[in-house]
């Protein structure tokens, strides 16, 4: 797979981060994916994908404050970078092009 291409789960992660401005951290991203994409995602999956996306410079992160219900551990917030946005646009456009003309066959899966 090319370095700038996105996997299915990575695409969901980037979309979840975009949906959660200023509160995109592991657990919220996981919840967003489960609620909207109806896909079970473990925290291990989410953090592994986030690490990978950060290596590719698609996202950047910063440490937030610690809270008591997290056992005093801090949150790590994520933000989609310009390279990530370009990769996402490319990936969504490819999906759209592939789906064009076969929507009737695929049907509405909502």
């Amino acid at each position: 797979m090319a370095r700038d291409s996105l996997g299915d789960f990575e695409q969901l992660i980037l979309l979840a981060i975009l949906r959660l401005p200023d509160e995109a951290y592991g657990l919220r991203i996981q919840e967003e994916i489960e609620e909207r994409a109806h896909r079970t995602a473990s925290l291990g999956m989410v953090y592994t994908a986030l690490e990978r996306l950060e290596q590719k410079k698609f996202v950047s992160s910063w440490s937030g404050g610690a809270t008591s219900e997290r056992g005093g551990r801090s949150k790590r917030f994520f933000k989609v970078e310009a390279a990530g946005m370009r990769a996402l646009q490319k990936s969504l456009a490819a999906t759209k092009r592939m789906a064009a003309g076969v929507e009737a066959l695929v049907g509405d899966s909502r």
Binding site: G26, Y47, K75
Partner: protein
């Protein structure tokens, strides 16, 4: 917080929104948040009380000392320490954040919705899944790991919903 045989001073008890939610809806479960401290350190804890009737629950809550000392071990139900230890061994960049999220999920999502036993199972499942994903990266292609990952996925799907 709940180390064997150690006594902790219970400074104050803050009843969280769970009290109203659960008391009104089911009358069987009440969660309370307490502020435990040993002088220098302070920690948040959730007290779990289960009973058959509202009256029983209120009486149970009144028995929890609001001042003075209390033995925390038998009333604080935290995430499983062993699973947390295994997570600490995970050689991941964001290991601490992952553990923080697992704890937050335990206290704010799993415990109030599903009760202590299932919340602990979910915590264990998160730990196993995190390790499987870590192991599967260099060993991708080994059928056994993929199969185990699927089993954990099914378990997750069952317990998280």
């Amino acid at each position: 917080m709940s180390r064997r045989g150690r006594k902790y001073e219970l400074r104050s008890i803050i009843i969280t929104h769970y009290l109203d939610d659960h008391l009104l809806s089911s009358g069987r479960r009440v969660f309370m948040a307490g502020d435990f401290g040993t002088g220098k350190t302070q920690a948040f804890a959730t007290i779990f009380v289960e009973g058959k009737s509202d009256q029983f629950l209120f009486e149970s809550l009144l028995k929890v000392p609001h001042h003075g000392s209390a033995r925390a071990g038998n009333m604080v139900l935290g995430p499983p320490k062993l699973a947390e230890f295994f997570l600490l061994l995970l050689p991941m960049k964001y290991r601490e954040e992952l553990i923080g999220c697992a704890e937050e999920e335990y206290w704010t999502r799993s415990l109030p919705r599903l009760g202590a036993r299932r919340a602990r199972v979910i915590f264990w499942t998160q730990m196993i899944h995190a390790w499987l994903i870590f192991l599967a990266r260099p060993l991708a292609g080994i059928a056994g790991l993929a199969w185990m990952g699927k089993v954990v996925d099914v378990l997750l799907a069952r317990f998280l919903k």
